[in-house]
Symmetry: C2
């Protein structure tokens, strides 16, 4: 039942292990973490659930466990500095491996710590949320947030391995499961129409946490992600398409206050905004938009941002996006279900109308 995919990056290629019960696989965890010290970074929710299971595989090795608070607020400069202090105080060396045990927040933060501690140490991702297993744990993007913008400070630092134990999804709150589905649906929308149809047909099973359905969705998502990352590691081209819904979404997260909206929720609403704008431009039709909105709604996800976010706030926050060039906000839009484009050449009135009507579904 375990699948192994590969992210193909020459000398930095690495495996993604997907399957039930992998946290109990002592041999896999030991082999993935080299021979040196091991530092597990987790949070206050995931740690009590799984850290002991992981810890016992490292008996006899120099082992350190660190935890941060739950939620997006943990990706802070303060935690970055504090974790660095813990590593130094515990004499963690360059030969160590840092293990991120948790969701996207823990992975982003621990990955950035691994990228910068002593100018870079090895790193393993053990994602325990659906969102992290299908997206954030794969591809080497690490970051912390600045008060002025999400993920504005970070590094590309590929892990040595990704270990996705699908059993951890059994304890995942329903809201977090839905948030992960937003990124699953994304792959279907931007590059994999057959997968989109499969998600539509199997959404009930996914929401009911059917093992086989979840395993397939994770594997297919990781296959899509691995292909994109292998072709464009540093996002000079097609990797930006993975950001469908994220430019609007990051603005929603920032405006609502980090943590008020889950990342996946903001991506869902942002994706619907991108879809409605694509329809305004005649790229897709109203039936496509309705189909997208229906899928997110069935998944229990929002399809519009909070009404209190003014268009001017969107413009201000989106003006800080990492994809922008020459002061132009670049957007990922849909040309069809299953095909996305990145462009800054769109009619200003379509953009403004989308923002003005942001809280109305199509």
């Amino acid at each position: 039942m375990t699948s192994i995919l590969t992210v193909d990056l020459d000398t930095r290629s690495y495996p993604i292990h997907i399957g039930p019960g992998l946290l109990g696989d002592a041999e896999l965890l030991r082999a993935s973490t080299g021979a040196g010290q091991v530092v597990v970074i987790t949070n206050s929710v995931v740690g009590p659930l799984y850290a002991e299971t992981v810890t016992r595989h490292f008996g006899g090795r120099d082992y350190l466990q660190l935890a941060v608070e739950d939620g997006e607020g943990a990706k802070s400069f303060a935690n970055f500095e504090r974790l660095m202090g813990e590593l130094i105080a515990h004499r963690i060396e360059r030969g160590a491996t840092i293990v991120a045990l948790g969701g996207g927040v823990v992975g982003d933060l621990a990955g950035f710590v691994a990228a910068c501690y002593q100018r870079g140490v090895a790193f393993v991702q053990i994602p325990t949320t659906l969102l992290a297993q299908v997206d954030s744990a794969v591809g080497g993007k690490t970051a912390i947030n600045h008060a002025l913008g999400k993920n504005m400070v970070g590094a590309f630092h590929q892990p040595r391995a990704v270990i996705a134990d699908t059993q951890t999804l059994a304890t995942l709150p329903a809201r977090e499961l839905a948030a992960g589905l937003a990124e699953v649906i994304k792959y279907g929308l931007i590059r994999d129409y057959p997968f989109l149809e499969w998600i539509e047909a199997n959404l009930d099973g996914l929401l009911a946490r059917d093992d086989e359905a979840l395993a397939f969705a994770i594997r297919r998502s990781c296959e899509n992600k691995a292909e994109v990352v292998a072709a464009d590691e540093r996002e000079s081209g097609q990797r930006a398409l993975l950001n469908l819904g994220h430019t609007f979404g990051h603005a929603i997260e920032a405006a609502a206050g980090y943590g008020a909206w889950l990342h996946g929720e903001a991506v869902a609403a942002g994706t619907c905004m991108a879809a409605r704008m694509s329809a305004r431009m005649g790229l897709i039709d109203a039936a496509d938009v309705a189909r997208i909105e229906q899928l997110f709604t069935r998944a229990g996800l929002p399809i519009a941002p909070p009404p209190e976010i003014a268009p001017a706030t969107f413009v201000e926050l989106m003006g800080r996006d990492k994809k922008n060039v020459g002061g132009h906000i670049r957007l990922v839009l849909l040309e069809a279900l299953g095909r996305a484009i990145l462009t800054h050449e769109y009619p200003g009135d379509a953009f403004e109308a989308t923002l003005a009507a942001s809280h109305e579904a199509a």
Copy 2:
């Protein structure tokens, strides 16, 4: 009179320009900074001297100048966060180039900012101290300090170009000139005996800021550095030899409080400690040690740490060094003048005796 060397790193190869008056070369500065936005990061001493000269080459381009305080204390988490906020607030984009205008502190800090802003933007080094021109601006090491250890948080991020204007040395305080000579002497000691003899013969000219002598010393130092970096970019081997005197030296800097000792001063005293330990082990003889001490003394540099640093303090601080493996402190020692080794296999009593007698010259 301008020399151009190359640091050979495949697709990330870059030139080192060395010569008088390069800050006035508009064509060179424009060509080195691409077509996008330019952000100059400098400090409160160097900015007033040179920033205007540099700024006027970028007329018509989106340009931002940021300054930090003078001294090692500027390599702080607080400045790292503040500079990131400035970049976001000014809508600096991924296509921007960050220019470090200053000494090693500015270069390390600005380089780390460039490495992490939006997961990495382009970077140009304009070193204005001897130390930065011969060492820290070349090779891509960037870092900030943690209260618990120097340069413990950073990244390898190669510049697109290094522009060393030797005229900037005319305004350099004598103490900083001497500090730079510590790193020049280092190259002679670890791998270039003919250069060591040349330095001994030309030290008076260097101290008198003879243009030709300085230009030769910078070029020869950069040649040595470029060779080592090209062979071992990420310090898995011989690059560590560039750390002669630095393991002792970083402990001196930390114990004295960052900024109390200049980096080059601490390296000079640390190099003498490494030399005395090498002699205790029979690797070099007392006459070699005396010759090293004499050269540093002539350069106006210390040959011993402050007497108030206890051996236990050295052990504590050196235990956090980035070169350590398996809890062992690794040291760069001299096998001969012009030949260094990195090892953790040394008699404990030679190390302890060196620390116990640290403030006594040989």
